[in-house]
């Protein structure tokens, strides 16, 4: 019952708002916010429900192919559901303030409701087809929300880019689903698939088992996650997605939707576990993403972009954890007893709170500075907006993994721990360096934006945000600190790994992360304290490794040029050979046969006489010999 409410309430809310926002006007906002609050309450009830896997609604039911809307209720989905509905509700409330003056408010809230519906669908999905359905729908809502201010060319381009990049990921996802579906006789129910991989026809000992197939299927599914969770090389859309309103960035592009890739990978972790090669590739991609994004973040000046790259980097962390855990299990470094916790999910859980908080905080800053986003045009905000500053500082600390106090520390330790145990030392090193870079750029952000003196008028006149915006910040700040505590984590059913507080292999991980933290933060303080403009300038990082430029070339060459050539060839050859050539031949023939009709009587008699002779020759001399 709670599952249906959580799923369908936002759907109807979105439908009502999007179809009738002219008539509804202000009521639309109330409907949306109301539904998000009810959904949150329902998700609280949902936390207490039993494990289940049942069909909610029929969808397609043909022959042996059954793809219904069926929910899989277990610890993972309950915990994720709480995160989604909780942060969703807070963002709804925050948006009441942030979007107060926007003319298209109903549209915004409608899209927000649509997102809640789609995200809920992903969380609850009991089979891969349903997962894919909602996977695409979050893409749509993300498209609508990024493109909320569509009059701006940059927003219009960004939403298109986000959707298309995700489409490429979905291309792989769909292939993966099809492969699994074909291999498992049309059944892609997650539980059944798990059984099939662990003890069914897809287990390694089964006849006809193909390791290559498992790897390919896993990688195809992973491609979906690469798109949605903005992993290298499909990461380019996420920074651009910051063109959307800031609450959207907090909800979708930091806390929930982008984490859906990780969630999905954890959902199919049996698949990742079944293929060591796939696990290594996944971990590698995660590591690259984490490191690369962190490097890019160090040179960004837009407050939201810094956070966006940090999100990328943290997502890379999570993905790396997914791969690392699977690799560790192969190496025998995994926990003895099956561990219900998963570092990736745990990091997802803590990250959701503090990253949403950071985004909302940045939203408050942007709101206060009249939509100024350049950190070098801020400064000294600490005095003008103390609550925002303190909550932002807490978020920063959590993100950096301030030891023992913040939730981020524990989850980061879990990830680094997994990387350490994976058997690939390079993963761990990459993770540690990323941690140092994280500390560096977050400290830089905090110093430049909040410390020192106001650098512009808008920063000077900044005022503390209104209550509806402060309240979510505060609540999230509390969660940023306490969410890793056992009491909290257990009741919220976070997937906290059991061995997190007792690292097995000495203290290597702990020491490394402490060194990273000190080095990063210290470096940032040393470099940026009291500076009015960036003392460091690394073009490569500032320009994001030139990915956008490279992709633009690829798109121009591989798509537009090829399209041009193909179009030309199609016109010339296909149309030419199939249509124009025959018609030209027929026309020629017609003209030629017309020449026979010259109008000269002698010509006609000649043809007639010739015809007679030809017929006689044919009938009397040719045809009898042919013996037909």
């Amino acid at each position: 019952m709670p599952a249906s409410i959580i799923l369908l309430l936002p759907f109807f809310s979105a439908l009502v708002i999007l179809l009738g926002h002219r008539q509804l006007k202000g009521a639309a906002v109330l409907i949306s916010v109301g539904s998000s609050i009810i959904a949150f309450l329902a998700s609280l009830v949902f936390l207490a429900t039993d494990d289940d896997n049942k069909l909610l609604l029929p969808f397609i039911d043909v022959a042996h192919f059954h793809a219904g809307i069926d929910v899989l209720i277990d610890k993972q989905s309950r915990g994720m559901m709480f995160i989604v509905s909780f942060i969703g509700m807070l963002v709804h409330i925050f948006s009441l303030g942030y979007m107060k003056d926007d003319e298209a408010k109903p549209r915004f809230f409608g899209a927000l409701s649509l997102f809640m519906f789609s995200m809920t669908g992903i969380v609850l999905a009991g089979n891969l087809i349903m997962m894919f359905i909602f996977w695409e729908l979050v893409g749509l809502s993300s498209y609508l929300l990024i493109g909320h201010w569509y009059q701006k060319a940059s927003a219009a381009e960004a939403c298109k880019k986000a959707f298309l990049t995700n489409r490429i990921g979905d291309f792989g996802f769909m292939i993966g689903i099809l492969l699994l579906l074909g291999a498992n006789a049309g059944n892609v129910n997650l539980l059944d698939l798990k059984t099939a991989f662990e003890s069914g026809p897809l287990r390694p000992e089964a006849p006809g088992y193909s390791a290559g197939f498992t790897t390919v299927a896993a990688l195809c599914i992973f491609l979906g996650a690469v798109g949605k969770s903005a992993q290298f090389p499909l990461h380019v859309w996420l920074p651009d997605a910051m063109e959307g309103p800031t609450p959207v960035s907090a909800l979708i592009h930091a806390a929930t939707m982008v984490a859906a890739g990780v969630y999905m990978l954890v959902r199919v972790s049996f698949l990742v576990a079944a293929s060591p090669l796939a696990a290594e590739i996944i971990a590698g991609i995660g590591c690259i993403t984490a490191l690369m994004a962190a490097l890019m973040a160090t040179q960004q000046n837009d407050i939201k972009r810094v956070l966006a790259y940090s999100t990328l980097s943290q997502l890379g962390y999570m993905v790396m954890a997914v791969g690392a855990v699977a690799m560790a299990a192969k190496h025998g470094h995994g926990p003895e007893a099956p561990d219900p916790g998963h570092p990736a999910m745990f990091h997802l859980y803590t990250h959701a709170f503090f990253k949403a908080m950071l985004f909302l905080g940045s939203g408050a800053v942007i709101y206060a500075c009249h939509h100024e986003q350049d950190i070098w045009k801020m400064g000294g905000l600490r005095k003008h907006m103390p609550v925002t500053f303190y909550t932002f500082a807490i978020g920063t600390a959590a993100l950096m993994g301030f030891p023992w106090l913040t939730s981020g520390f524990y989850s980061k330790e879990a990830v680094l721990d997994a990387a350490f145990n994976s058997g690939w030392r390079v993963l761990f090193i990459g993770g540690a360096v990323t941690a140092a870079l994280t500390a560096f750029y977050m400290t830089r952000l905090l110093i430049v934006a909040f410390m020192g003196k106001p650098r512009t008028d808008s920063a000077h006149h900044a005022q503390e945000a209104p209550m509806v915006m402060i309240l979510p910040l505060t609540i999230l700040a509390i969660f940023s600190i306490f969410s890793a505590w056992d009491g909290f984590a257990n009741s919220l059913q976070a997937l906290k790994p059991s061995h997190i507080n007792a690292p097995g292999e000495g203290h290597t991980v702990l020491i490394a992360s402490l060194i990273a933290l000190i080095a990063g933060a210290g470096g940032a303080i040393f470099l940026y304290r009291g500076k009015d403009k960036d003392p460091v300038s690394i073009k490569l990082f500032a320009n994001k490794f030139y990915f956008d430029e490279i992709y633009a070339v690829i798109v121009r060459v591989c798509q537009d040029r090829v399209a041009w050539i193909v179009t030309a060839l199609e016109r010339v050859f296909v149309d030419g050979i199939i249509a124009r050539l025959p018609s030209a031949i027929v026309a020629r023939l017609g003209a030629a046969t017309r020449m026979l009709q010259g109008g000269h009587l002698q010509g006609y008699t000649f043809l007639l006489g010739g015809g007679v002779i030809a017929v006689i020759y044919l009938v009397v001399f040719v045809l009898p010999r042919m013996g037909n």
Partner: protein, 488 residues
């Protein structure tokens, strides 16, 4: 007398009445509305029954030998297509404004012809009704097309000769079928009799392949199967709005319907013989990949839509190539979905052309600002054709893909399955061109001088109707699938 005869006759009679002087708008709208209601009731009735096999059958003998009769009958597939026809017809007629009576007459004739083709069960009449619908299509493109007279005539000619030649190849194929499956004593055009005979004495695979290929070429060129497609894009781009809606939305589905209804049951092995299958897969990949790229290259909305409509046929052919029950039902669902979505898009496109006078992307922009409702409606069509879940096209596509993977062996990919993978890339391409169109037209800041406001509510109704259909059947594709309970 069968209710189906009424359904077929109603639009044709209305067309005659208008030609003889009845008020065009009221008569045609009334007739189509009534027809839609009748079709809906009939469909519900059919779903309420066992929903398998032919129903509402009735036969009027015309010739003894060759045995020919005006026989009507409908199963789920034909009812779904009849529903599609009446819906699109209503929308197409409703959106006509300030046009001469010939617009109404031709719309009614095209729709009536399509209904006749979908609801009769005699090969002769299936073929005949389709041809009937082609004439007004041709005339309307040539006379009222959106181009200079010389150019639109050239376009109309191209389409007509293509379709005419295709029809003749089809006729030869059908003649072959009739000759092969008529049994001993008598030639018959009755589809059921032919099917029974095909079940009794199936042909050798090699022969099935040959006949199937001829039918494929015939039906295929009516559906713009690559490389017999080059008539379609210019014709749709030039055709007057209701004609573009009806032909691309409805009439084009005839070829696919014929393949599913005539070719596959009679020649079940036809598409699976290797050379036919490979040829078909190559051709449909041409539809999807080549036409996908051509669509990406388009610079005008009507070009994009017209080419995309060619491209999407590839997916339906993929369903036919796969041939499994799931894939075929998916193909039917996709036929329905594509019909509704492309009609919606062409309808809106026509309205834009009327108001703005241009469809060039580089001249348009920011229409969403002043025409939000219009934008939402367009988004429905655009996202449906991208294959967004929740709109009908997705259900059809996913069923086709899944249906192609039913006999998958882990680690061994058949040609069909490789094709599916390539075809999936087409889904990415359709997102590219549709979003590009959407961004160029609706996003961005409004262009000065090109100004458009939402149509009045009454003019929005036909499009809302289509969009709602997409949403309802997209969320509940089982509504359609329940009509096709027996295997195809």
């Amino acid at each position: 007398m069968s209710v189906l005869e009424i359904i077929i006759a109603l639009p044709l009679l209305a067309a005659l009445a208008i030609w003889l002087g009845a008020p065009a708008h009221a008569t045609s709208l009334g007739a189509t509305l009534l027809n839609l209601l009748i079709v809906l009731v009939t469909t519900v009735q059919y779903a309420g029954k066992a929903a398998t096999g032919l129903a509402f059958t009735y036969s009027r003998p015309i010739l003894d030998n060759p045995s020919l009769s005006f026989a009507v009958g409908a199963d789920g597939v034909s009812l779904i297509l009849a529903l599609l026809t009446t819906l699109v017809m209503l929308a197409a007629i409703w959106q006509i404004q300030d046009r001469p009576a010939i617009f109404y007459v031709s719309s009614l004739l095209i729709g009536g012809g399509a209904l006749g083709a979908f609801l009769t069960t005699d090969v002769f009449f299936i073929y005949a009704f389709h041809e009937l619908a082609l004439i007004p299509t041709f005339l309307m493109i040539a006379l009222h097309g959106r181009a200079e007279p010389a150019q639109r005539k050239a376009v109309a000619w191209k389409a007509t000769i293509y379709l005419g030649a295709g029809s003749l190849v089809l006729l030869a194929g059908l003649a072959w079928v009739v000759l092969e499956f008529s049994g001993g004593s008598k030639l018959t055009f009755d589809l059921e009799a032919l099917r029974n005979q095909a079940k009794l004495t199936p042909l050798a695979d090699a022969k099935q392949a040959q006949i199937f290929f001829v039918l494929l070429l015939g039906f295929g060129s009516l559906v713009s199967l690559f490389p017999f497609h080059s008539w379609a894009a210019p014709a749709y781009a030039t055709a007057p709005t209701p004609v573009a809606m009806l032909h691309s939305g409805v009439l084009k589905k005839f070829g696919l319907y014929g393949l599913i209804r005539i070719a596959l049951p009679l020649l079940p092995q036809g598409p699976h013989v290797e050379w036919v299958q490979n040829a078909l897969l190559l051709m449909l990949l041409g539809n999807i990949l080549v036409m996908g790229l051509v669509t990406i290259h388009a610079h005008r909305l009507d070009d994009t839509l017209a080419n995309s409509s060619v491209m999407h046929m590839g997916y339906i052919f993929l369903g036919i190539a796969a041939g499994s029950d799931i894939a075929l039902k998916g193909a039917v669902v996709l036929m329905f979905a594509h019909g509704i979505s492309i009609a919606l898009l062409f309808g809106l496109c026509g309205r834009m052309r009327n108001q703005l006078g241009t469809l060039e992307y580089n001249k348009l922009g920011g229409l969403a600002t002043h025409a939000p409702a219009f934008t939402v409606l367009f988004a429905f069509g655009a996202f449906a054709s991208i294959g967004l879940p929740g709109l009908t096209n997705f259900a059809g596509e996913v069923m086709i893909f899944v249906g192609s993977f039913t006999d998958f062996k882990a680690g061994v990919m058949s040609n069909l399955q490789w094709t599916v993978i390539l075809a999936l890339w087409g889904v990415v391409m359709s997102a590219v061109y549709m979003l590009r169109a959407y961004r160029n037209i609706f996003h961005g800041s409004p262009t000065t001088g090109l100004f458009m406001i939402d149509p009045a509510f009454s003019q929005r109704v036909p499009f809302i109707m289509l969009a709602t259909t997409l949403l309802v059947t997209g969320c509940c594709p089982w509504l359609l699938l329940n009509l096709m309970k027996s295997a195809l």
